[in-house]
């Protein structure tokens, strides 16, 4: 059953040095508050998994916490490149990182395979794609019925997955709404799962029967962090802070400016600060 914990307790109990961890969110519901807590706790040697590593992985890579990144699109969505990740890949600063690169289809299938308890994912993909030649984890398998050659990648099974969601009920069931991305699969594929939520409600009696709900017993810990996805957004609660994504391009362009920003906005900050960050972005 999910335990309700403070974010610092939830991160300390569930994320260890050397872990393989996914902070998932497909543009929507990105667990920024949880990622910042991991940064404050100074975890290192992490293998970071995410389909669309954006600002939070740029921050972790820039702080030297990552030894490897597994991803399918490493950009600042709609803005451009990830400058801290680039500095690590192109210049080995602050340290060299290993990268394992896939396509979205591959990672989506790999998470689903992880959730389904399969050792690998099989799909129709990577035909003619260059990634096959640089990523030894992209292989092929022959359909035993038709002889068709299909792509195969290992399933994703993180030690721990962090996601942000709209709400939990008092039993600890979690509701995810809007662009649900890969959240459900990422939680079910992982050994442990930590969910930050906007709020806790009495029950889900008014929720549609086909809603995306993660039952309490699939979640390890829940922390209530209003605004915890900022500058990403929480459908029904607050809008995406597009200006912050645009600003990140400048902040991350310079090593010193990056460190100053991180000290001020992450290291000296706390989960409670997220409420104020979304105050002007709240839906009416």
């Amino acid at each position: 059953m999910a335990k309700f914990l403070s974010l610092s307790e939830a991160v300390a109990e569930n994320l260890k040095d050397g872990d393989t961890v996914a902070f998932e969110g497909f543009t929507h519901l990105i667990p920024h508050a949880a990622a910042h807590e991991a940064i404050r706790q100074g975890r290192k040697d992490l293998t970071l998994i995410r389909m669309t590593p954006d600002i939070v992985y740029d921050q972790m890579i820039g702080r030297g916490m990552a030894k490897k990144v597994i991803f399918s699109y490493a950009g600042n969505p709609g803005v451009g490149l990830l400058r801290r990740l680039r500095d690590a890949v192109e210049n080995g600063f602050p340290q060299r990182i290993e990268i394992e690169e896939h396509s979205h289809a591959a990672m989506a299938n790999a998470y689903e395979a992880g959730a389904a308890g399969l050792p690998c994912a099989v799909f129709c993909g990577y035909r003619g794609a260059g990634l096959k030649t640089v990523n030894p984890n992209i292989r092929s398998i022959t359909c035993p019925f038709t002889g068709e050659e299909l792509a195969a990648v290992p399933s994703i099974r993180p030690d721990v997955t962090f996601i942000h969601a709209q709400k939990a009920n008092k039993r600890g069931d979690v509701l995810v709404e809007g662009i649900i991305g890969i959240q459900k699969e990422a939680v079910l594929a992982a050994k442990r799962a930590v969910v930050t939520v906007e709020e806790v409600v009495e029950d889900f009696a008014d929720v549609h029967p086909n809603a995306c709900i993660l039952p309490s017993w699939t979640v390890t810990a829940i922390s209530v962090v209003p605004g915890g996805a900022h500058p990403s957004y929480a459908h029904g609660y607050y809008a995406r802070d597009n200006a912050s994504y645009l600003e990140w391009d400048d902040i991350s362009a310079d090593r010193d400016r990056f460190h100053a920003w991180m000290e001020e906005n992450v290291m000296k900050s706390s989960p409670d600060d997220f409420t104020g960050r979304v105050a002007g972005l709240r839906n009416e």
Partner: protein, 271 residues
């Protein structure tokens, strides 16, 4: 001759691209230039076009262009929003997409696209974001439209990395790899409309945008350009097309840059 509204080459590119889309299309939309073209089509001649973004939003009709593929606007206006694995498995791999509309950082004459690295993969000069959904969009969509601005850096003799497969080395290369979809069938740049030669599959200029000369196209393209014998001139944007595009861009600019004004509404009082 009637007075025509003046327009930029960027506007011509987006509008020419929008014209290629029809009401019956189910279009998997790449972010950036493709997104603008698809929404201009929807707001002008193709109101019933199905636009799909890889975040899982099916049949979306955004009022402003999304900054990312997963903006809330896309979900709010969609017929339905599915999970990302469902998107790639049932909808893309399942063969339900008629057109994949992609942009490119680097493109070659056979419609192969690079958005991964400039330089060597292991020691890149520039690490680009990577493929995202494109490698499978390129092979699972019925056909592929590409739109990009011409430049010597972008349109090259040989791309540094095959992120998304077009026609490979040309000819029947797709079929030889077991790919059954058509691949790139249209390229729209800021200067011209290109279609692949039926046999060699090399992109060939079929139409020049108004005021563009052959040498303009060649000067901004890294391979030796082939021009169609029956070269046409792209019709200039109509007033409706231009107004639609400019209004869309203005709404988008207000929403994205003015996060303090456009997005930030009153405070929520409950739940």
């Amino acid at each position: 001759m009637m007075t025509e509204m003046s327009f930029t080459s960027d506007e011509m590119m987006t509008i020419a691209a929008s014209r290629a889309l029809t009401n019956d299309d189910v279009c998997f939309v790449g972010i950036g230039a493709p997104s603008a073209a698809c929404n201009v089509a929807r707001l002008t001649h193709a109101p019933d076009i199905t636009l799909i973004y890889e975040s899982g939003t099916i049949g979306t009709a955004p009022d402003v262009l999304p900054l990312s593929i997963g903006d809330g606007e896309l979900c709010d206006t969609a017929v339905t929003t599915v999970s990302v694995p469902e998107m790639f498995r049932y909808w893309l791999q399942g063969g339900r997409i008629s057109i994949g509309f992609l942009g490119a950082a680097q493109l070659d004459r056979f419609g192969n696209i690079n958005t991964t690295v400039i330089g060597d993969y292991d020691k890149p000069k520039t690490r680009l974001p990577g493929g995202g959904g494109a490698p499978e969009i390129a092979t699972s969509s019925g056909e592929i439209y590409i739109t990009m601005k011409q430049s010597l850096r972008g349109m090259v003799e040989k791309i540094d990395f095959y992120t998304s497969f077009g026609h490979g080395d040309g000819g029947d290369h797709r079929q030889r790899l077991g790919i059954t979809t058509k691949g790139p069938t249209l390229l729209i740049t800021d200067l011209a409309v290109w279609r692949p030669d039926p046999v060699t599959k090399e992109f060939t200029v079929v139409s020049l945008h108004p005021g563009v000369k052959k040498e303009d196209v060649q000067k901004t393209c890294g391979w030796t350009v082939t021009f169609c014998d029956t070269l046409e001139e792209t019709p200039a944007p109509t007033e409706l097309e231009l107004t639609t595009l400019r209004d869309l861009k203005a709404r988008t600019k207000a929403a994205h840059e003015g996060a303090g004004s456009g997005n930030r509404k009153g405070k929520q009082t409950d739940g």
